[in-house]
Amino acid sequence: MKTSKISQVLTYLILFIVAGIFLVPFYIALAASLRPFTEVSVSRMWELPSRISFEGFIQAFKKLSPNILNSFVLTVPATIISSFIGSINGYAFSKLKFRYSNVFFALILFGMFIPYQSIIFPLIRFLQSIGIYGSITALIMVHVIYGIPITTLIFRNYYDEIPNELIEASSIDGAGFMDTYARVLLPISVPGFVVVAIWQFTNIWNEFLFAVTVTNNPSQQPITVALVNLAGSQVVQWNVQMAGALIAALPTLLVYIFLGKYFIKGLLAGSVKG
């Protein structure tokens, strides 16, 4: 059955209106951050700048660049390590099931839902006691540990789709279980790794609670904490604040634009298959 012309027009109308509303924050942030300092007046916030100026971006970048670097130093290793742990765990929970393995899996999974407020105080005391509190190393460790539930979940579901015969055929060849993982499973895990890595990268880059509580020294703080401080400051012009927000958003936005398909897979894997 073909949808009628009227319903088509109506559909497009709603799609356009909602899209317009969805893009308002983007427009506001972009219009503000490309504005020259001479035009920074609240009464013009809805107008396009009369000329494009990168002054806001330059200032924001100057203030935020150490924190952007921190975020990369934090996010890249944490993503890689937690992806590998998730992959090997997923292999075990999917193909090497043991007694009560589902119970253990559920107990691990619970960790991705808890409010981290409920472990943050002991966590900080623990990090202080081993002498790494406040460092990026500590944050990497925290993100690896609390990333295990979600990465394990995504990989377990991924490996569940792979027929057991493939694994068994390799075992009959006399390969050990770790051989099987390395020779059979790992090479076909690339799409799984892409999904998990994108998911972890986005989440760790965007994370705030651990970032603000585990790093107390501004020189170690990731971009999210620096942005909040920048935006909360009374002396920073709002074109700089908006430019800062765009800079903080850029890496994950680029991932979304170029690898959106995998990003959505991660989103849905992180929820439920109904």
Binding site: I14, F93, L96, F121, A245, K273
Partner: protein, 308 residues
Amino acid sequence: MAVQKKKSLVGFAIVLPSIVLAAVFIYYFIFWTLKVSFSNWDSFSALMKGEYTFVGFSNYIKLFSDWRFQKDLWNTLFFTLFFILGCISLGILLASLIDKGLKGSKIFQNIYLFPMALSFVVTGTVWRWIFAPGTVRDPAGINLLMSKIGLGALQWGWFTSKDSLGNFNFALIPVIIAAVWQMSGYVMAMYLAGLRGISEDIIEAARVDGATSNRIFWKIKMPLLQPITLSAMIILGHVSLKIFDLIYSMTGSGINNVTDMPSIYMYELTFRSNRYASGSAVSIIMLIMVAVIIVPYLYSSFRKGHDI
């Protein structure tokens, strides 16, 4: 079955480190927080002395009679309610429109989903700027826009408003809008994935019977998507019970705590006032609220052998 035995042994050995980490960093730490919440460690000096005095539920009792915490619970309730309602209705609407498969649908889908790639901190920073009310003389943000298009009479204080209806603070409305903006695309994506899983045969049969596409959507597809609605509610619910970054970066606790949440109060108690015991009690209450919706969900998923 020696192979079988070895297989499960290797499997257990592989995940053992993760089980140990979970035991320590999740369960032992929760127990530790619970212990602190029953203690007298409500100042820095008390913590440093390190003498643990068990005070029972007194920190909890104090909290529940604390007007700020009461306000937090009401705010959480209304925020959760309207956030879930907003995301699911907008998510269904958008999924139903995209599902028609008109030309360009993919572009619209990408636009609706892009806020999910951003952090709540970025969202909060930008939306705070949009909803900043300015003054009556010099309106800002949405108020400015409204005065320009002749709706000046509708200007109000947005997240600085102290008005309320019963226990619902109107200052939460802009925060709910920002949160719905961020997450309704996610719900749309969940529904779209569900819609794609519905077999064509059922739809075809209904078409042959002369059902309109609207009827097919609401009478056949939506009932089949009920499990997705449940998952969406659980996912959104546990996000909103924990909501912290968005509030922190957008409004903070607000005038008279109109936009305060347990997470913000917990943060201030623990990290600003050194009241570790009270902060721990708040966080345990947050954990219980989340567990109430997550544990049955995990339990039923595993019992049915469903994938999560």
